[in-house]
């Protein structure tokens, strides 16, 4: 069984080609918006020159000489990149092993080129058979983004199982939903967005069609601010999303923030949604991370979801302890142990052991 699992894991690592999300902790630690490292101003996906160098110089335990000049440029004006994430989940009910699941989470390839002030960014999500192209027009501190992509909302954490993102796809508490609607199954949708970077602030508003449900038009907006308070970096932001022209359309508001000082970082967010299922839903996330040494981080996280705040039985609280190891450039390994507390009469999900392998270039 173990041998088979290892073989299967190895197979996915090498032959399975995902959805792109940023790691906002790095933005917090740099006291800057995601655009510092990513081509897409909303974060995630293809890294810019700074992002690649930051990955080499700040995130890894060791940088082999042959990677030190990596740029992703292949034909003078074209940059190629990619993200592959594979996850395994092993469950235990008490002391009894209760199955192992290995699945690819993300397998995306991105390509970028610039024509004067216009940036063209293509993104192929092979697992979702989804192709998106964005045209980004830059003018000083302002930009216009049109094409096929995803709107910016909240922290856009790299883990879609967090309740403020997509939560549990396989329901465990007998709810209609166990997490906000940002699951990895969501595809790119037609989008038009304008943004402004002003000092340490970043403001963006836009419209998208058919993103969260077919034919729905969604308005979204996000404002974030980064700064330093003495030796401490901070970020604070708010996001809003509303389906318009539809009765009982989804409406969501999100508050997020973080503090970072030296080796310690805290990030958190809270999302309140109206008409996600029925009534008002709530999801929260809070994570504390300690950098033990370059390439090695330990973290503790609590996330919570309540499908309808009028009732208590549909709530879930999950506690996670994790280790993040970046042994080499372009390779990120995460280990997590987590336990869910269900407020319903459903039997506890037990302890889960998760491993995630992230390869990017």
């Amino acid at each position: 069984m173990i041998k088979q699992s290892v073989k299967l894991y190895a197979f996915f690592i090498f032959f399975s080609p995902t959805f792109l999300l940023a790691i906002p902790r790095y933005a917090l630690q740099n006291s800057s918006s995601c655009i510092l490292c990513h081509v897409n101003p909303s974060g995630g996906g293809l890294r810019n020159d700074y992002g690649i160098l930051y990955g080499l110089d700040n995130l890894t335990a060791k940088v082999p000489q042959k990677f030190s000049s990596y740029s992703g440029i292949v034909l003078n004006h074209i940059q190629i990149g990619g993200d592959v994430r594979i996850q395994s989940v092993s469950k235990n009910k008490g002391d009894i092993p209760d199955g192992l699941a290995i699945f690819p989470m993300q397998a995306n390839i991105q390509m970028k080129t610039n024509v004067k002030q216009l940036t063209i960014l293509a993104d192929l999500a092979t697992l979702q058979s989804d192709f998106g192209v964005q045209f980004l027009y830059n003018l000083k501190d302002n930009y216009i983004r049109v094409g096929s992509s995803k709107p910016s909302f909240g922290l856009r954490l790299a883990d879609h199982t967090v309740f403020t993102r997509g939560g549990n796809i396989k329901l465990v508490n007998g709810n209609h939903l166990e997490g906000m609607p940002f699951t990895p199954r969501l595809k790119n949708a037609p989008i038009a967005e304008i943004g402004r970077l002003q000092g340490n602030g970043h403001l963006t508003i836009g419209m998208t069609k058919g993103y969260l449900s077919n034919d729905s038009e969604t308005f979204f907006g996000k404002a974030e601010h980064y700064g330093s308070l003495g030796i401490m970096n901070r970020m604070i932001g708010i996001s809003y999303l509303k389906q318009i022209h539809s009765k009982n359309g989804l409406e969501m508001i999100n508050l997020f923030g973080g503090l970072s000082s030296g080796k310690l970082s805290w990030m958190g967010e809270m999302t309140i949604a109206e008409n996600l299922v029925l009534g008002r839903s709530l999801a929260t996330y809070s994570e504390l991370t300690y950098k033990m040494k370059s390439g090695l981080n330990i973290s503790g996280r609590i996330d919570f979801f309540d499908e309808n705040i009028s009732f208590t039985q549909d709530a879930i609280r999950r506690t996670t302890i994790g280790l993040n190891y970046v042994p080499l450039p372009f390779l990120d390994i995460k280990f997590q142990i987590r336990s869910s507390e269900l407020f319903s009469d459903v039997a506890s999900k037990g302890v889960e052991l998760l491993t995630q392998l992230h390869v990017w270039f």
Partner: protein, 113 residues
Amino acid sequence: MKRIVLIISLISGFLFGQQSELKNLKVLPYKTKREVVKFMKSVVAPELGVKCSFCHNMTDYSSDEKDHKKVARQMIAMVQQSNKTMNDLNFHEISCWVCHRGNEHPEHPPKKK
């Protein structure tokens, strides 16, 4: 098919990935982006207490759209020129810190005559 596309992209990215050319670099003596970023992160940003966006268009770092970048270039040229004199006099080199002390603008400008 998807996997083939991914594998080809992965391999081509690593094998044929080129050293990207430095664009619009006029006064700094560096040959690679890594050297430029290291200089900016370790010298310019902390000594002026600013983030990259103070001088750069974040969607195109090489652009000269922002006036702060043009001023910064002149300032760097001034420091380089000063350091030639300092070297001739056998003095220590100077950097932005000598005047800026972690501020966007030096706190105590010389008195007007």
